[in-house]
Each structure stands twice: as C-alpha cells, then as structure tokens.
Symmetry: C2
C-alpha cells in the first residue's frame, strides 16, 4: 500500500498494518479499533522514517503539518491543549519497529511539560510535588535521549541535593528540593547543549520525533539487526499518545486485573486497584491497593464498563488477559493488555473453559500449554513462596522435591525410614549396594556423578527426587557431616530439602505443594490423545512402575532395563557369583539361580501391561558395574598388607582385585557391554530370553495377552545382531515346545551408535524394530561422555553459547538428528514394516518429540512422570505439522 499519508490516528489503523505502523503502533490501533478506551494518539509511519533518511535526516514541513493536524485531534478528544498552562495535554513518544527490538530504541514520557505547564499540571492534579517530579524526570529523559547529555550528570546533581537535604530516597525530596533540582538541570542543559532547555512543546515534539528516527541507526540497533538478520531498510515508526493520570484526584485511580484467576484458572476477575494513584505507586508498595471487587463500590459505572471490556478482550484475543487501566477524572483508560501469566493448573483450567465457552477449539487449547508445565503438575514441588536459603546447587537429575534428615548410610536410612522418619540419602555416589537405602529415602543427594550416574538413573526410574554431582559439597563420611563451600557444616540427622527439578539444596524443611490432577487435566489430555500420531511409551523396570505408567496413559513399555533387576540386594551376590565364575559350569550354576528371579520379574511386568507392548532390553552395562570399585579395593588390599593381616585373607582379596582389574576399563562407556557381552557370554542372554518366554507362556495359559519385544543393545554391525537373534529364536522354540504353547514376539535393536545409523539398511534385515538410544547416540556422535561433560566443560559451553542447549536434554537435530534421519530412511527403505521410535531421555522433551513426529517415527519413550507431557507434546507436534502441510 503506497500512500502519501504518513501519520495515522490510532483509529485509522489495525493489527494487520504492522509493516506501516510497527508492532506497537499496530497494537495500539487494534485496541482502539475494537472500541477500547485507549488514551488517544497517532503513529508516524515507518515510511516517514525512511523518507527522513532519504532526505538527509530532515523532518519535512509536510510531516510536521501532518503531526500537528493529528495532535489537534488528540486535543479535541482529551479536551486538553498541548502547551496549555492551566491543564496541559502531555504525550509520550515511543519508537516501534516492525520487528521487535527490545531495549534498542528510546522512549520519552510527559512531553509537553515546561515551566508553565508544570505548574498547570500541579494545579490540575492538586499535587505540585508530583508535577515537579514529572518535570525533572522529563528534563532528564529528554536531555539523555534527544540532547545526548550523559544521564550521569543529572544523577550527580540529584545526589548532591539529597545530601544537602539529608535524605536517601528520591521520593523524600520535597517541592523546594525539586525546584532546586529543576533549576540545576536546566543550567546543566544550557551549558552542555549550548542553548536553554526548549520550553516550546511543539519544538520538544519535533526534536523527539527526529531523535526516535535517529535511534534506528544508533550503534546498538545496527548491531542488533545484524545479529538477528533484520533488514536495515525497514525503519521505525513513532507512537505519540496522550498521557493520562490516575492521581488527578479522588475521582481517579489505577489498577491491574486478570480476566480470570491466574492461580486456579477460575473464571472470575482477579486483581487490585488504587484510588488517586499512578501505576508506580502500586509497584512501589507505599499504599496498599484494594481488591478489584471493590471497584464496583468506588466506581460503579467504570466497573460495569471494565467488566464489559474484559469480556470483549477475551473474545478478541481469545485468551485470559492481564489488563492495566487508569481512571482519570472518572474516565476509564486501558493502557495495556496482554496474555496473562498463569500457573500450570490455571493454564489447563482456562484452556478447557475457553473451549467449553466456544472461544477456542481443542487444537488451539492444546497449543496453549507448554509440555514442561504439565511436568509441574505431577511432582511435589517446593512452595515458590518459601524463604529457605539455597546452600548448594547440583545437577537436576530427577524432578520433584523432598525434605528429610540427612543420612549418609543406606542401612541407617532403611532403619530410620522403618521408624517412620523421612530421610534424604547423601552419598559421594551410590552403588548397587545402596539400593535398599534409596528405596527407603525420600530423595537423593550426591556430590559426584552426572545425569547418568547410578543415583540419577535409579532415582528417575523410581520417580524420586535426586540432585547429583553437587561438587561444592565435601562429604566426610567418618565425621558424619558434609561441608559447604562457605565452610558451614551440615551433620547427620539435620533436615535438608532438595529440589530435583532445579538442582537446589536447602537447609531446613521446605513446604511442599502436592501435585494437582483435576478433571480438566484429564479432559485436556484426552484431546491430546485424539490428535497425536506418535505413540507414547514409557520405561519401567518393576510392576509398580508399569502400573503407574499405565495410569499416566503410557501405551506400553518402550524400555524395560534388566540390569536394575540384577542390582537388587538379594540378587547382587548371585550376579557376582556369575561374573566371577571360574568355569562355564560355575557360570551356568549361577545363571540357573538367576533364572527363576528373572522369570518372576518378567511375569509380573508382562501381566501388569497385558495387551500393551513391553520392550525388554537384554543386559547392557559392563560386568564390572556389578563388582566392588577398583579404587576402593586397591586401597583395601594395600592396607591389609600394611597391617600384616592373614595371608589367606589377603590372597583372596587380591584374587578379587585381579578379576576386578581385568574387567575394569579405560572408557567403560565404549567398552565390553551391550550385545558385546551377549556375544561373548551367550548363556546370559539365553537365560534372560528363557525367563521372558517362560513368563509369556504361563500368562497365555492364564488367558492374558503378553506382547513381548526383545531388544538387543549397542548393535553397530548387523553381524552382532544376527547370531543373537538366532539365539533368542532358539530359546523361544525350546520354550514353546516345552510348554506346548505358541506365542509371538518381536526382536529388535537399540540404534545408539553412529555406525548403526549409517548401516541401518543392513541391520534392518534382522530387526523387527529400531529403538533410538539417543543418550548413547548423543555421547558417541558428539564424543561427549555425559558424566564427564556435564561436570566439566558443558556448563561452560552453554554459558558461552557454543551450544544453545544441553544435547542430552534437547536432541541435537543437526548432528544426532541427521544420523537418525539416515537410519530411518535406510531402515525403512529395506524393511517398510520396521517399527521405529526414540527411547533416550529426549523422548520426554517437547522439541525432540516434534522432531520425532516430523521425521515419521512411530513412538517416543519417556519416564512415567513425563508421559502426560509427552502426550501433549506429541499432540502439538501433530497439530503444527498439519498446519505446516496445509
């Protein structure tokens, strides 16, 4: 639209004129257009700005005329006159580019004040102190923005006067002091600018407009545009709006209101107002505001109008609004409206209500909630109003919050828990030996280890809060205390609180807020389930986990880790026996003891999940994880020798040490684990497969439908998968014959190595499904050991913006994602029926779920507590994808 018009009254514009009016101008126009009582004003177009530059930075006389003509209309509307000494019209002047450039350009308030109009304002508002304060602020702002006089000079004057008067705060300055300040300011301006402070309001206005135009090309703005790739030829608009004052007298006031309760979502007005006051007064907290309900009594007409406006706003913006208003001499003005911030619970209630009210549809409602907000609803949280001191911060390893007595020992933790006490288990790091203590504890705190440490993994699996790798703590187990960075100590039995969602540790018992699962929540998620294409599976290693996951809406178990079953206290000795076996027959004896235990595990889980698929991953971690630590054992042996203990005892320990050493690895993450174990010790996988199939057969006989999927971990070459597939098929055939029972099952593999991705076509031949292990795939693709990276260089990388997000939390779509894409294309190219999904922790993260949806995966897998959030994220991905493909 090419037009000669360069100045647009608010009522002449609308939301879709952003290119001409800039973002702010278009918004003001839109509010005016829909009939809100916005303080009147006008916008100088971006085209005028570009004309200004084209004509050598000159405000044309034509533009000046247009501005003054528009100003006249404002005068009519406000019934005030610009420069009127008795009741002056004052205006604000603000920049407003097409693309928002926050903080890059300038604002001037109260323009139009001079020695005379200031006195007029004083009289009109019956508040001379206020008028003088406005005036001195205006001088300072104008001098800074327009005359480029460093505001430091003004601060200096202000400080000096305050010192003279013996006061500390600006607000304490009386009228006389302010007069003194204004005089000094004007002197300063005259000296620095070489001419007196302009008293002519029209001159002030033109200078301000020119200054806003100039700010388009100030250094900050140019750099900002370069970084954000914003074209230089857009120009900025200038918004000129009448000032209104809520402190004009007792018939005036100001307030803020939400159109619904932002805490609960209840559809009632929520807010507060203050009579004869400005917005600043509300913020400063000098006077206590009244609840919005009392507006009805104070200003019955305004109240009616305001309620109508709130309805109008919700209808127009189709969301709960946060509205700022001012009443000037009985007249209501809306200063700003925007979508209101709200709690997760309120967000859901509002979205569901808006759908019921016919304001938005279900898909829109789904897009209104961030999946992370859902998380908030499922875990206990520390009351945000809590005033406890944070004494340390570690890694946020498992969400939720907990309080309890500090306990350094798993046995003691168990004992105390039995006595009904709440405990937080605090350890340098945890091992399988600590499992009973972890079960007993409310939460875990460790000083070592990262997001995949034993403590973190076990805690997430159990849904317990955990803060890991809190390296600033020095734990002294002998003394029964831990020392903080500042030297303070926390001793055994003291109460601490941890927030696994933020990694914070508090001294004392923090008030916890319970999770809220409303009817609206269920309704909302049912809408999500209607539109999403991705299935949402979960991980579960126990029947309890499985039950909870079903409750949260999981459509199956995408990852059932068998190693945690091995770590149970009663099993670990048998597992160690199996590992330390001197001969195959000894190993088989130990495996024979493990078989009934594994059978029980699988029987219970498959029963719990009947009718839904259960993907069981065969043993994955290196065997040394089940043995004592090398370092501890080395010290033990050295000490036994030093003390001259029984040679037989020493020799036994040395034998164990030798075995542990022979199994220990330089880089265990890249060592003898996963299918590499299954290939070298097929008897282990054979035993596991046997346990699974025996359980399946028995369930079928009971009339229950087990959907078994067996997953072989860490395959990088099809030749690793093929022989293991044959082993599993053999066991299935054996069990089927023994039990005289037919069952179906699937065999698939984790794709968690780059080599598996680029040779996925070959691997697909022997796989019924691919499950992307994005944790390990991220580690190998980046060459990052998560445990090491998160404790060492990753925080630095994020701080320096070398990486924009932690790739272990947000899937790296460029790198890791590229490999996943290749694998999906190669795999499906070879076998169209291949089932493909993500089973790393990314399966619970929204942007990663969107990516999974976009590249056509069948499912995502996440921890039980993340299932609802993942259902929502999957729904959002489906809606957004549909929109894109329109």
């Amino acid at each position: 639209m090419k037009t000669d018009q360069h100045v647009f009254l608010f009522e002449e514009g609308s939301a879709n004129m952003k290119e001409i009016l800039g973002g702010k101008g278009a918004n003001l126009a839109e509010m005016t257009r829909i009939g809100l009582p916005v303080p009147p004003g006008f916008t100088i177009s971006t085209a005028a700005c570009m004309d200004y530059y084209a004509s050598g930075q000159q405000i044309s006389s034509r533009l000046k005329e247009e501005v003054l003509r528009a100003l006249k209309k404002i005068e009519v509307k406000t019934k005030k006159k610009f420069g009127d000494p008795s009741e002056p019209l004052l205006v604000s002047v603000r920049s407003g580019a097409v693309v928002s450039m926050p903080g890059m350009m300038d604002t001037i308030l109260n323009l139009g004040l001079n020695d005379q109009t200031a006195e007029g304002l004083a009289k009109a508002t019956n508040n001379r102190r206020f008028a003088l304060d406005c005036y001195r602020r205006f001088i300072q702002m104008f001098a800074d923005v327009v005359l480029k006089i460093d505001h430091y000079n003004f601060e200096e004057i202000l400080e000096k006067v305050k010192e003279q008067k013996g006061v500390r705060e600006d607000i304490e300055l009386d009228e006389e002091a302010l007069e003194q300040v204004i005089a000094a300011f004007k002197n300063l301006v005259a000296k620095k600018a070489g001419s007196p402070f302009p008293q002519d309001p029209e001159k002030q206005l033109i200078m301000a407009i020119q200054s806003v135009f100039d700010s388009w090309n100030n250094q900050r703005a140019v750099v900002y545009r370069k970084i954000h790739k914003i074209p230089d030829n857009l120009g900025t608009a200038v918004n000129i709006q009448a000032m209104v004052f809520g402190n004009w007298g007792e018939d005036s006031g100001t307030g803020v209101a939400f159109t619904r309760n932002p805490s609960t979502g209840e559809p009632v007005l929520y807010g507060e107002f203050l009579r004869n006051a400005q917005g600043e007064d509300v913020v400063a907290g000098i006077r206590t505001p009244q609840p919005i309900e009392s507006l009805k009594e104070a200003f019955p007409e305004v109240d009616k109008q305001f309620k109508k406006i709130c309805n109008l706003l919700e209808g127009h913006y189709r969301d709960m609004q946060d509205v700022e208003f001012t009443i000037e001499r009985g007249r209501l003005f809306i200063l700003q409206t925007r979508a209101g911030k709200r709690t997760a619970a309120a967000a859901i209630r509002i979205a569901v209500d808006l759908v019921k009210e016919g304001v938005i549809n279900e898909e829109e409602a789904l897009l209104r909630i961030k999946p992370e907000q859902i998380d908030q609803l499922l875990h206990k949280q520390i009351d945000p109003s809590c005033q406890l001191d944070v004494i340390a911060v570690g890694l946020s390893a498992s969400p939720g919050a907990a309080s309890g007595e500090v306990c350094f020992d798993a046995d003691l933790a168990e004992k105390k828990a039995k006595q009904g006490k709440k405990v937080i288990l605090v350890r340098p790091e945890t091992t399988p030996d600590d499992i009973h203590g972890i079960v007993a504890a409310e939460g875990l705190l460790t000083s070592r280890g990262g997001m995949t440490s034993h403590a973190a993994v076990v805690a997430r699996g159990m849904g317990k809060p955990c803060v890991c790798g809190c390296e600033s703590l020095r734990i002294d187990l002998k003394a029964g205390e831990f020392v903080l960075e500042n030297g303070d100590k926390v001793t055994e039995g003291e109460v601490i609180s941890i927030d696994g969602g933020t990694g914070r540790v508090f001294r004392g018992s923090a008030p916890l807020i319970a999770p809220q699962l409303s009817e609206e929540f269920k309704t909302f998620l049912s809408w999500a389930d209607k539109v999403r294409r991705l299935k949402v599976l979960t991980n579960a290693d126990t029947p309890e986990d499985a039950r909870r996951a079903r409750e949260f809406g999981a459509e199956g178990i995408g990852l059932c880790r068998t190693e945690h079953m091995f770590m149970a206290q009663d099993r670990l000795p048998v597992v160690q026996e199996m590992i330390l076996a001197g001969s195959p027959s000894e190993r088989n004896q130990a495996l024979a003891k493990l078989l009934p235990m594994q059978y029980e595990d699988f029987y219970a889980i498959l029963k719990e999940m009947q009718g839904l698929p259960v993907t069981i991953r065969l043993l994955d971690p290196p065997l040394h994880e089940f043995l004592p630590h090398l370092e501890d054992l080395t010290v033990e042996v050295a000490l036994l020798k030093e003390r001259g203990e029984d040679p037989h005892v020493i020799s036994e320990k040395e034998k164990l040490l030798q075995k542990v050493r022979s199994l220990s690895e330089t880089n265990p993450m890249l060592g003898h684990r996963g299918c590499r174990l299954g290939l070298v010790y097929p008897e282990i996988y054979r035993m596991q497969a046997r346990g699974i199939f025996l359980a399946a057969a028995d369930l079928i006989k009971e009339g229950i439908e087990p959907l078994v999927e067996i997953m072989v971990p860490l395959v990088g070459h099809v030749n690793e998968l093929s022989p293991l597939r044959r082993v599993i098929e053999e066991v299935a055939a054996e069990v089927s014959e023994e039990k005289n029972c037919k069952f179906s099952y699937r065999i698939g593999t984790m794709i968690e190595l780059p080599r598996a991705c680029v040779t996925a076509d070959q691997i697909a031949v022997d796989a019924d499904f691919f499950s992307f292990g994005t944790n390990d795939l991220t580690q190998t693709t980046f060459g990052f050991s998560r445990d090491d990276a998160e404790g060492k260089f990753l925080p630095f990388y994020l701080q320096q913006k070398i990486l924009t997000a932690n790739p272990f939390v947000v899937l790296d779509q460029e790198g890791v994602g590229s490999l996943i894409r290749q694998a999906v294309e190669l795999g499906r190219g070879r076998k169209g029926s291949l089932k493909v999904g993500i089973c790393g922790e990314h399966g619970g993260e929204a942007s990663s779920i969107a990516f999974s949806n976009a590249i056509g995966l069948d499912y995502v897998r996440c921890s039980p507590f993340r299932v609802p959030a993942a259902r929502l994220a999957a729904a959002q991905a489906a809606v957004n994808n549909k929109d894109q493909s329109k």
Copy 2:
C-alpha cells in the same frame, strides 16, 4: 560355444577355455599349448557333468567311447598301454571346477594298477617295493573315494601289520609285509563293497569318473558353494593325466626350481633335484638333493631343455616361476608351474629386472608388490630361521625387532644404556615419567594397554619395536621378575627378544636381519611416485623424526603432536605446574616458561621440513594424563595415613589427590580434551600458537620457508572451531606486528567425531583443511574404546568373523567410510578449495589408502617407517582406479 565334444585332449584346449575345462584343465591345456612337456592327458568337460546329472547320474555310452578314444591317444604318446601287464600306463583322475573349490572334491592317483600291472610296474621300475606301495595306496584311495569305505578300516589293517613286523613307519614295511597288506585290503573291499576290488582298469576309470561327477553334489561341496555364492549348475570337469615316475631308474629323477633366486631376486636358476626319486622323496628328506646347477652334468640335454623352458615360462607368465619337474627315463616332464614365493627384497629386484627386460611395464611392476612387504624391508627383523622359543604373545604395537636385557625401571634402563648395554624396558604400562627409559631402550614390552596406550604411541613415534598388552605376563616389580603363563620366571638382566611386527616375545637373543634398501628399491618407489595422485605425509614430533621422514619420501608432516613435547622429562614439572595453577596468573607464569620450549620445538621441526607443509595439532589429551595416576595416589595417601606420617605431608598429598580426582574422568576418551581444553583454557592454545608463529617469523628472516598449518583437534560443532580460529588469527597478527614479518598459514581441524562429519558443511566455513582422525572416528562410530576392545572382545569378534578385520587397522569403509564420504561431500560442497586427508593410523594401510584415493582425498598420513609402503599403496590405488575407469 555349444559343441557335442565332451572330451578334450590337453592340446585341444587353452587358458581361456576355463568354463568348459575347469580351472585345472585349462591350466594343463595352456601349459601343453605353449609347448611344455606336460605328461599327456585329457579333460572331460563340465558340460558332460551336467549331462550326467540330466540323465539321472548315468555315464552315457557316448561319453565312455569318447574317453576311451582319448585314452588311446595317450597310450600312443606315452608308448605305454593302459592295463599292460609289462609296462602299464597309469593315470591320475582329478576334479576341476570352473571356480576353485579347494579340498572340496577328490583325487585318485595311480589308477590302472591291479594284481598284474603292479608286477609290471615293479619290473619296469626295477623297484617291487615301490610298485606294491603304489598299489596298496591306490586300493585305499579308490576304496575311500569311489567305494565310500571309511579309510579308518585300512589304517587299522596297516597298524596291525606294522605291529606284527615290529616296525613304526610305513616306509619300513618290506615287500612281504606289503603283499600281506594288499591281500587284507582286497578282502576288506570285497566284504564291505559286496564285490571284489575291480581289476579291470577301464572299469576303474569309469567308476572314478562317475565318482568325481558325484562329488560335485557331496555335502561339503554344496555347502561350500552356498557360502561362496557359486551357482550349482556349473558342474565339474574331470582331468585324466598319465602318471610319470622319476624313480624309474638312474636315467630318471625329480626336482623343483625357481627361475630366479627367491631370496635375493638374482636372475639365476635356483633349486635342486634328486636322481631316481619321486617328489615325495625330496620332501621326506631321506636323501639329500643336489643343487640344480649339477643338472647340467647329470642330464646335459635335459638341462638345456629345462633352461629353455624356464625362459619360455617367464615370458609367458611374465613372472618368476616355481617349477616342478620329473625326468622319466631321460625324458623331461613339467608337472606344475606357478608364480614363485619370494622375499620382499627379491620381489622388488625381480619386478625391477622384469621391467628392464621388457617383460612387464612399470605399472604392472607396482602391482606385483604388496605394500606390507615394503614394511619388512625397513625394520630389523628376527631371522626367520631362528629357533628360539616363543614365551609370550602380545599386541604388535610397533614393528621391528630387538633384543636386550630385561629392565623394569626407566632410570636403570638409562643407566645400563649409558654403559653400552642393550635393554628391553618391561613395564605393566608406561607413563610420561618413563620417557627417558624408553629413549634408552631397544624396545618395549608391557603387560597392559592397547594399541593406543602410551607405550605403543610413543614407541611408534620413535620407530622402536614394542609389544603391548601382553596379559599373560605377571610382572612383579618388587621381586624384579616376570612370571610366564606356565609359571617360569624371567628375571631382571636376562636377555629376551621381542618382535613388534608379530607381538612375539622370545627368551634369549634372537639373530636380527638388518633392513635392506637397494638401488632397485629406490627405482621402484620412484615409479610409484610417478603414478600416484595422493600425497603421502607423515607424523613427526621431533626434528629427528622429521629428518627420517623426509628420507623416506614424506611430502610433509600431516600430524605433529604437541603433547609428546609436554611429556619430556624436563617439561613435565612445568606442565604440572600449569595444570595445578590455583589462579590464571599462576597458570600464565607456567605457560611463560613453556613458551620458549615450544618455540624451540617448532623452530627445529619447521626448519627441518622447509618448503614442505607441517601440520601442528594443538594440545589434545586430557590434562590428567600429565598428572600421577589416581589409583596410585589414593593408595599412597591411605598408606601415609595408616602409618601416621607428618600431617602436613598428608595434607599436601591430599590436595594433589583432590585435584587429580577432580580432573579424572569416567571416559577420558570422551572427556575434557581437544578443543574443549582450548576453549576453556584459551591461554594454552594461545601460548602454542605464539610459539609456532615466532618460530615461523624467525625462519623467514633466515630465508627459510616454513609452511605452517595449525590443526584444532576434536571439533564436533563449528562453534567450537570459530572462536579458536579467531584466537589463533589474533596471535598471528600480534606476532606479525611484533616481528614486523608477514607469513601465511592455514588453520584446519581434525574431523574425528561423527557429528563433525554430518555437519562438515558448517565446519568447512572456518576450516582451510580437514584431517580425518580415523582412530578416534573409528572409536566413536563403532562405540569402541580401542584400549578396551583390543584387550577384551575384539579378538573374539575377529575369531568369530563378526568383523572381518580390526577396524583400527583396516578402515571400516561401510560405517566409518560412509561418514568420511559425507564429510568430504559436505565440506567440499561448501568450500571447493578444502584440503582433505586421512591422519589416523589407517593412512599407512593399503586398502584404506585405496579407499582414500577412490573418494578423492588429497593426502594420507602415516608413521615415518610406513611412508614407502604408503607411496606404493597410493600408486597401486591410482593404477587400479585408472583401470576401473577405463
């Protein structure tokens, strides 16, 4: 060619009739065709075999007629008659498929013998024992192959007779005993087969032919064809050839000769012969053969003919031949000819001579030598004839051989070396503290650690022999001995020998063969240089390495590792000071001490390599590699405490322990190393860059041309490279200004992470070159820690054929290669001028070099000693590529 003819005399065929005659038949025909005196014979075609199957496994009367007609012609040629009781024609019957199926099908010798012809043979050869032995062997072979009587039955009879006669060896059986054996054999056949042993030679022949046809479909053959994807409908040919006997009398004999000396390549006949003997006699070693030179005296005519034939053979097969011959009653027969095995030195001499003689061209000569053979020529080797016992086998970590006194301590090793003694340093593993001992030692032997262990890397860098990870050794440093698997001990000071090329360890001093670098060798490599396209660079960390590499023909240094410079004994304390620095200023002090040292390093190397590029990799390994081992230190602290030592000493040690612990990593390979160090501690890279540029500036002033390339390691994201590029450029500008000297340089990166490969287009923006670090890329792509894999599951993988080759030795083209391809395409797509090469250990391996050539890399990098082999491999790749693209 469809023909009715099913039987072809040797003289009717040729080498290109393989499909009809099978491989062996075509060869026999070819030898006959070029005029060699091959014992006459004929071949039954593969078509006849398929006809046999088509007609329900019946030998047609037509085929029988054709065979007998051909047999008549053989009788004429040999002047013997099939079944003649006085001087019988005997034949061999052998299968011969189109595609060689070694050992899959059967052979029958001496067919035509029966009770009468055996006596005839006895008279004719004047050796009744020989004739009877032939007969009993024939019965056994025929019964086994044709009649399917288990040969175990025959062995039993033989054993019984030997027992009766009181002898141990077959050869000790006299005529009477053999008669007894033959009678028993015939009885057995009659009993088992249900009919007597066939006495009619024609019947024998037809049965044998049928049996060869049948063997095409025996189980072994069917499985073999399935595995090797050989079609089932090819059929096998049958070769029937007259037997000749070198033991017919004093006018007969047998021998073997090479047409050139297989040890030196000298162009003279080389071999031996035995009068009145069969080939078996030569092999059995009962009589000592005469040198081939004496053939002239014994059989002047035959000698002339044989020499002519040797010339003919070399001309025809265009290579040195290994010829088997027999003289029967003054008549020369050639039984077999094939390319002769030869030493590496001989191979080169022969190839160069053949080019000079005009037999082959240079490119053919290049293809005749395996690059591995070149390796043999450059390292000392253990004399292959050496009879020492192998006492252990470890990893072949660094090629070459050495002998010396066992020494368990670096200081002692240095001391002994100064005394002029040769030592082998034996350690569980080596650390930077051992460097002076490694320098002093002839070779290294460790019981722990893999191909990338400190010992292995340092040894390869120095070109010293090294056997690593020899886990069967138990080293007892205190006792000053190591214990072998069998319990034997080797004590300090005893002499052992190691072969780093095979990983073998010997007791005693092994005789070593010095490397041989002949004129022919230089000529040969100059031909390689003419045709290859790939440049061959090397790694060198010292001026000495650099000089040697130039001598071997390296065209630059593709990898100059700076960490080894840090490990030198005089620098390590300063490096530790830098690492342990409590503040940036302390760190800078330590770096200031390192700067002049680094300057010297770079000055000397750049000077040595003037005019050739030197790629310097900035510091790569994690800092804890320069500190004491965590495990050792933990034990030390525990013991100090146990002993109640001075608390101050304990506290200092504990501080060090804490630092070492805080730097220690779960997976150091994936930890805080490479550019991650450079980003967190830019002052380290800044110091290194400064050292490099100062050296470059000084050299330019001396009129020497330094070609500096700086390589940033372990980049996975362009955002890691960009800031470091800026740091390096800043330092360059600073130095350029300070020194008032302009210099050019390149900045590039190692591509050694999968993420770098798939985002290579982005990384290319800030890189002048890519250097594929295929060692680490293989580790991350496979998810294999080399140190762990090679000691644990990789040997199992290779043995089970899960992998066909060790991917750390032979580049995995399917997986790792696919990522490299992507990176090259993406990188060059963004920046056409990008220089790209391989700098892992694969750069010295032939098939990996061929791959590098095929995908268009610019260079390969290998260790100095491998440069000549790599030049050859690169040349072969170029020749083969040219052939393919024809």
